[in-house]
Amino acid sequence: AQRVTQPEKLLSVFKGAPVELKCNYSYSGSPELFWYVQYSRQRLQLLLRHISRESIKGFTADLNKGETSFHLKKPFAQEEDSAMYYCALRGGDRDDKIIFGKGTRLHILP
């Protein structure tokens, strides 16, 4: 069964410190992984996807198939990074929906 696990409900990090939001997944094939972000009172928006291998707003995420993880990282946290972050998985080319993790609230301390 497809499953996305975000072990931390809340992560508090000081401004300027490194950030790592953990995401582990369970899927037998080759999934597509995403990170979505939801700023306060805004809609969810795509932050990045693993197939693009991009860096958005200083965030990166590498798919580790051996550890079945897709952790989101940023070397230096900024106050505007405070938001809810969701890891999501789509189970391959023929899967027409994605499964979300329960989310991690990132709180950047001044």
Binding site: I51, D93, D96, I98, G103
Partner: protein, 116 residues
């Protein structure tokens, strides 16, 4: 482009009342989805549609019905609201798959529903 819009933004219902949430998208997307967002539960898929006239159940479909009569609209109905349906409801849309490596879901602003 308005993207994905949802109507209404807020609603308060009494137990047993019915209502319909409307989602509209102007991006000519084939796929549309309804999620509910609850604290500590993340986003859970209620129903989705892969094309006009088609619908499918998601993870938590009980107590909800949907219809996709027009490609641009996806309606979510609550026939007899219950307090357990108090939540924030998000609609999303996307292109069809077909090997689209740029695939992503676009979300609406949400509808906050309270059932007393």
């Amino acid at each position: 482009n308005a993207g994905v819009t949802q109507t209404p933004k807020f609603r308060v219902l009494k137990t047993g009342q019915s209502m319909t949430l409307l989602c509209a998208q102007d991006m000519n997307h084939e796929y549309m989805y309804w999620y509910r967002q609850d604290p500590g539960m993340g986003l859970r898929l209620i129903h989705y549609s892969v094309g006009e006239g088609t619908t499918a159940k998601g993870e938590v479909p009980d107590g909800y019905n949907v219809s996709r009569l027009k490609k641009q609209n996806f309606l979510l109905g609550l026939e007899s609201a219950a307090p357990s349906q108090t939540s924030v409801y998000f609609c999303a849309s996307s292109y069809s798959l077909a090997g689209n490596r740029g695939w992503e879901q676009f979300f609406g602003p949400g509808t906050r529903l309270t059932v007393l």
